[in-house]
């Protein structure tokens, strides 16, 4: 090869690279999906307003909050601002850049999950070691499981999108992913953090399903879930199993008949569920009015956290709560619609992961609040108090928006 030829080849390669880059940049410069963004922002706004309403009585009464009624609201709003900034920043990034970070991301996630389990490192609250933070300060605390969700979504999307139809094979498609998923879920379960593990498993499973694993696995999974639900609802098998492994089995009995226990139970294990039901039920059709919840005055525990939606029911009634649920449903459907139309598989899977996370959390949270399923602690996206979680959610929304920018314009448009 002559020098000239070589130079020319190099030039061409350079042109090729620049063209591709330009193409990619052009694609990434497309408009982000406005409906998804607006729905997310609308829910965030309503969520912060409801947080203010739900949290002020306990903030006002708490020494930790310096008796400031706006304490929770201010912090949440601050994180929301930070999160929105991060969301727009992430949405500008060409999401293909994340592909390179996938492997690193999953390693860091697992490392953090291991780190939190090392005695003395993790922060323990209510008998559960779920938090990491800068030692000696309250600042910068976060849950590794939240980070792991993002890490899992990105890694699975990257890994599965590369495999194409090899995903149908057991050895290459199913096994590696199920192992990683098992490791992450089991580490989370060790904290213990049942609901976190459940979410991670759900998100991972959704990406694997959409990614193309053999339909037999899906059938097996659906059958397994259905029979577990059956056993839980109509038999004592699950309850007895939980008793055998010494896990909090009482919550199953409480779930089946919240008001059935004696006074001690009603004031003990069943208290939260009973209060939640009372809160939801006393709202009626139209609710007692925004800000006028009575149950939030120290009756309903975790009223600004996992049970914030009960306050929504009480204050806004079935009508208000249903409207908010419709907004959630629209956001979720728009997310999956974007996944269907994404430019490539990686993009699709990223959105599937993020949207599944939002969908699962929304469903499980409201289901717990209405006692549709046994109580477990799951935060409601955009509503529940929790700075880091909110920020990460907004970053994830940013990821979806980033993917949405590269959706080709409709033909003939």
């Amino acid at each position: 090869m002559t020098r000239d030829e070589y130079r020319q080849m190099k030039k061409q390669k350079e042109r090729e690279r620049r063209r591709k880059e330009r193409e990619a940049w052009e694609a990434a410069r497309g408009p982000m999906d406005l409906p998804f963004l607006l729905l997310a922002m609308l829910l965030l706004t309503i969520g912060i307003i409801m947080l203010l309403s739900a949290s002020f009585p306990s903030a006002q009464a708490s020494k930790d909050c310096r008796y400031d009624a706006l304490y929770f609201f201010k912090r949440q709003a601050g994180f929301a601002g930070l999160g929105i900034f991060a969301m727009f920043w992430v949405s500008k990034i060409n999401y293909h850049r994340f592909e390179g970070l996938a492997r690193l991301g999953i390693i860091v996630s697992i490392a953090l999950l291991v780190l939190v389990l090392i005695p003395g490192v993790g922060i323990t609250r209510n008998h559960a070691t779920r938090w990491l933070g800068i030692p000696g300060t309250d600042a910068g605390q976060f849950q590794p499981s939240e980070v792991a969700k993002l890490g899992l979504i990105v890694y699975f999307s990257q890994s599965i999108s590369k495999k194409r139809e090899k995903m149908r094979s057991f050895k290459e498609g199913f096994l590696p992913h199920i192992i990683i998923l098992a490791v992450i879920a089991l580490l989370t379960l060790r904290e213990p953090h049942f609901s976190g593990a459940l979410l991670l498993a759900g998100i991972g499973a959704a990406i694997m399903v959409v990614g193309g694993i053999h339909w037999g696995w899906i059938a097996a999974g659906v059958t397994g879930l259905a029979s577990a639900s059956y056993l839980l609802t109509f038999t004592d098998v699950v309850e007895n199993l939980m008793k055998a492994i010494d896990y909090n089995a009482a919550r199953i009995g409480v779930w089946k008949d919240p008001f059935g226990g004696d006074l001690a139970t009603q004031q003990g294990e069943a208290y939260q569920v009973i209060q939640s039901l009372i809160t939801v039920g006393s709202g009626g059709l139209l609710g007692v009015g925004l800000g006028k919840s009575r149950q939030k005055f120290m009756y309903l525990p975790e009223e600004h956290n996992d049970f914030i939606f009960a306050v929504v029911f009480e204050e806004l009634g079935l009508v208000g709560a249903t409207l908010i649920m419709i907004l959630f449903a629209m956001l979720i459907m728009r997310g999956f619609w974007l996944a269907i139309h994404a430019r490539d598989r990686f993009g699709s899977l990223l959105i599937v992961g993020v949207t599944t996370q939002i969908a699962l959390q929304t469903f499980l949270n409201i289901a717990v609040v209405t006692n549709l399923i046994p109580a477990t602690g799951i935060a409601l996206p955009f509503f529940s108090y929790g700075g880091t979680a909110l920020a990460i959610q907004l970053v994830e929304v940013g990821v979806v928006l980033s993917v949405s920018r590269q959706i080709p314009a409709p033909k003939g448009g």
């Binding site: 030829e5 009585p57 009464a61 194409r164 139809e165 995903m167 959704a206 399903v209 959409v210 990614g211 193309g212 006074l263 001690a264 009603q266 004031q267 003990g268 009973i274 039901l277 009372i278 809160t279 939801v280 039920g281 006393s282 709202g283 009626g284 059709l285 009575r294 149950q295 005055f297 120290m298 009756y299 029911f313 009634g317 079935l318 709560a321 249903t322 649920m325 419709i326 959630f328 449903a329 979720i332 459907m333 999956f336 619609w337 996944a339 269907i340 598989r345 699709s348 899977l349 599937v352 949207t355 599944t356 969908a359 699962l360 469903f363 409201i366 289901a367 209405t370 006692n371 549709l372």
Partner: protein, 798 residues
């Protein structure tokens, strides 16, 4: 270049298949993703939300009411403010029942536990940090609980164990320790809460105002007043009948609350109950109850007694009593000694089995006796009245004109009615009598003729007109109506028996109500005990209006009846009912209780006979036949009636008027003569009505006297004047005067140094002392007044 192109083309040529495969695989993979994502979209975007909506709809719409109720139950706290229960007064304002505030003491185990935990924490802190100079170890949580348990147990008389048990219920906010605690105990607890060994006020013990009912006279008018149940609601008597009026309305404070702070309060004022002012007079009630008790013990009556004192001019009941009775302040306890003995016997015969404190037989007997002592025999129980009913038969016949005071009757000792022979109380017969005598003799054949002369329909009309078939309408519990054969079933023989008061049943109250109509001018009044209701400020809310229900007989007939009945007491079977100085009308009665051989003896009397202001009916159920007194109303009941009347009439301000015959019964106040000379003293005594006196010693002036100045004694009494001589400190022995004539009794008592006051019948033919107020052989001070009941014992029933 060409070579290059070729190479490139070659390369490209080898690629297509691979590229095509790649594109196909990518497209397929993409298709899978799209299809499966669509499935997720449907599941997560629609299905899950439909499930949530269905559940939410169920909670907010279907279960809304129930859950809302639960919410308000926990969010609001309502505290009741007890209204003060109204009092019950007698006609003179004497308190028969009243409420006073008391405290209910309760525990808040939830708060108590929190406080104990705090103390425990403080202790632990002090233990690890060590105590500062001069600092003492704070009380531990357990010590705190111990202190409360022991103090409460001591103050309230409870078992410590029970208190600990209540403390264990830490989810609870309200555990009652004791209801209705006396005010002073309540104050002690208040003091304990503020000042105690912890140095801080006790948290978790609270007092709430409550009311306790007091009945100052225990047994007085127990059957009228009744009692309350454990929740301060009327259970019996007026307390139950006037529950609504007495109770008032309970006030309410509704506090909307959260776990820590109170939001707002809403008040509903309590309204105090009304008070009742009764027609009863506690003194007359007392005379009546005492009389019944005396009569029962004297004649060994096994089934109690009843009595009603009424104002015939309005139907107002001045006293109504039933024996056996009970103590309202402790109404479950058996009060009567006769009943107590019965219960003790059952207890002795049926010892409690293992594991039980009382045998079943005992508990059954106890219940039976409780009902017995709570029964008001005057209104709840009916009886065959016997001869006292003849007043009604007489009234009917006089009103109808079938007899008049000049009618005559012949009594051979028995009379044939249909196919039965009915005997008279006097076997030998009363012979030829005018109406007046027939009534005074209580002659059965005469009254059978009077009854038969009226005929079934007329008689029955009067029975109905006198209100005997229906309830009296009195404002007392358990008022019942009489039991009579139906009008069309009444045969001649029935009518014959009805005419002298047998074979039908009425209550004593029904009977006296009808009898009052016979002697008050013919007006039937509804008997009543509540004169008026007063609100808490003393304003009259409701006043009884005594309006006659109807006029049954004319004024003239009534006047005749009064005259005839006065003759019964002055010269007939009712002589023992006489009260010196008063004109008394009356009628005796001895009624068979079915075919048992037992009788109910009774006496009806009223005074003054020409203008009745008070009427009284006494019944004595099943007196013993072994007291030596012939069983009859005249022998057994009339003397008691006389004694009660002797108390009632002066009390009501009806002054005695002594005729020649009664002179020995006249009473006067002994003047104070110490310091006078013998002549001055004699003159002064004379002035006051005392003729007889004797002196002891021979001093110049009177240094002492018996009886003392101011005492009220019969004017026949001999006054002893001590002239410079010490009054004898020797006691006099009371002689037995029963069976003696008035003159002999007076002499015997005077000889013993005592003064006789005679009551009851007067006259000389056959009137003897029946009883004396101080038992024979009793040693008593000279000059003591001994009341002697005079009367006559007849040997045939009335």
């Amino acid at each position: 270049m060409a070579q290059q192109r070729t190479a490139k083309e070659q390369k490209a040529a080898s690629k297509p298949q691979k590229a095509k495969r790649t594109v196909d695989s990518a497209r397929r993979a993409k298709l899978v993703i799209q299809r499966r994502t669509l499935a997720l979209l449907l599941v997560f975007g629609a299905a899950t939300f439909l499930a949530l909506f269905a559940k939410a709809y169920d909670l907010t719409i279907n279960q809304n009411e129930e859950l809302e109720a639960r919410a308000s139950r926990q969010q609001t706290q309502s505290t009741t403010i007890s209204a003060s229960r109204g009092s019950i007064y007698d006609r003179n304002g004497v308190v028969l029942a009243r409420s006073a505030t008391a405290d209910t003491v309760f525990l808040d185990p939830n708060v108590l536990q929190k406080r104990a935990d705090e103390l425990e924490l403080e202790c632990a802190k002090k233990r690890t940090e060590g105590l500062a100079e001069g600092e003492t170890m704070p009380m531990s949580g357990q010590q705190y609980k111990d202190l409360i348990a022991s103090t409460m147990a001591e103050l309230l008389g409870l078992e410590e164990e029970d208190i600990y048990e209540k403390m264990e219920k830490t989810w609870s906010r309200y555990e009652i320790l004791k209801k209705r605690v006396e005010k002073d105990v309540g104050d002690q607890i208040r003091e304990f809460i503020t000042t105690n060994a912890t140095g801080e006020s006790i948290k978790g013990i609270h007092l709430a105002s409550d009311a306790k009912r007091y009945y100052p006279y225990s047994t007085l008018a127990a059957h009228v007043i009744g009692f309350l149940d454990g929740d301060n609601h009327g259970a019996y008597g007026l307390e139950a009948l006037y529950e609504e009026e007495l109770e008032g309305s309970t006030g309410l404070v509704v506090t909307t609350k959260d776990v820590n702070m109170f939001q707002y309060e809403q008040y509903y004022d309590a309204e105090d109950g009304n008070s009742l002012q009764l027609t009863l007079d506690s003194n007359i009630q007392n005379y009546l109850e005492r009389g019944l008790a005396d009569m029962i013990s004297k004649f060994g009556a096994t089934n109690g007694a009843a009595g009603v004192v009424m104002d015939p001019r309005s139907g107002a009941i001045l006293a109504i009593a039933s024996n056996p009775t009970y103590d309202i302040n402790d109404h479950p306890a058996i009060y009567d000694s006769q009943l107590q003995a019965q219960l003790a016997q059952v207890e002795a015969e049926n010892p409690a089995g293992p594991g039980e404190t009382r045998s079943n037989e005992y508990l059954k007997k106890l219940e039976e006796l409780q009902y017995k002592q709570w029964r008001n025999k005057a209104t709840n129980d009916t009886y065959e009245p016997g001869s006292t009913f003849k007043i009604l038969t007489l009234s009917m016949a006089l009103e109808e004109g079938t007899v008049n005071p000049n009618s005559t009757f012949d009594c051979s000792g028995s009379i044939q009615v249909s196919d039965a022979r009915i005997g008279c109380s006097k076997k030998g017969g009363h012979g030829h009598q005018v109406l007046k005598q027939a009534v005074a003799n209580s002659c059965n054949p005469a009254f059978i003729n009077i009854g038969l002369g009226l005929g079934v329909d007329t008689f029955y009309d009067y029975v109905e007109a006198f209100g005997l078939k229906e309830k009296t309408g009195v404002d007392l519990q358990g008022d019942v109506g009489g039991i009579f054969a139906a009008r069309d079933k009444l045969i001649t023989l029935d009518l014959a028996c009805y005419a002298f008061g047998q074979n039908f049943n009425v209550t004593p109250l029904q009977l006296i109500t009808a009898q009052a109509a016979c002697i008050n001018g013919g007006y039937l009044y509804t008997p009543y005990v509540v004169e008026k209701q007063l609100d808490s400020d003393g304003n009259v809310v409701k006043q009884h209006d005594a309006v006659p229900v109807r006029q049954v007989i004319s004024e003239e007939t009534s006047a005749t009846v009064r005259e005839l009945l006065e003759f019964v007491v002055s010269d007939g079977t009712g002589r023992n009912g006489q009260v010196a100085g008063y004109r008394i009308g009356g009628k005796t009665g001895t009624a068979d209780k079915g075919k048992t051989g037992d009788v109910i003896v009774s006496f009806l009397c009223f005074a003054p006979a020409d203008d009745p202001q008070v009427i009284m009916l006494l019944t004595l159920d099943t007196p013993s036949r072994d007291t030596g007194t012939y069983v009859s109303g005249g022998n057994m009941v009339a003397p008691t009636a006389s004694a009660i009347m002797a108390d009632i009439l002066p009390y009501l301000g009806i002054m005695p008027q002594y005729g020649e015959e009664d002179a020995s019964s006249a009473e006067a106040t002994v003047p104070y003569v110490v310091g006078c000379t013998k002549e001055e003293a004699a003159a002064k005594l004379q002035e006051y009505g005392f003729d007889a006196y004797r002196t002891v010693g021979d001093g110049e002036t009177v240094t002492d006297q018996t009886p003392l100045g101011g005492a009220i004694v019969p004017t026949s009494a001999e006054i002893i004047l001590y002239m410079g001589v010490e009054k004898s400190s020797e006691l006099c022995k009371v002689p037995n005067v029963v069976g003696l004539s008035a003159a002999d009794a007076n002499k015997a008592l005077a000889d013993a140094g005592l003064i006789m006051r005679s009551t009851g019948a007067s006259g000389t033919d056959g009137i003897k002392a029946m009883s004396q107020s101080i038992a024979p052989e009793t040693e008593t001070e000279a000059g003591t007044v001994v009341t002697v009941q005079m009367g006559q014992t007849s040997n045939h029933a009335d």
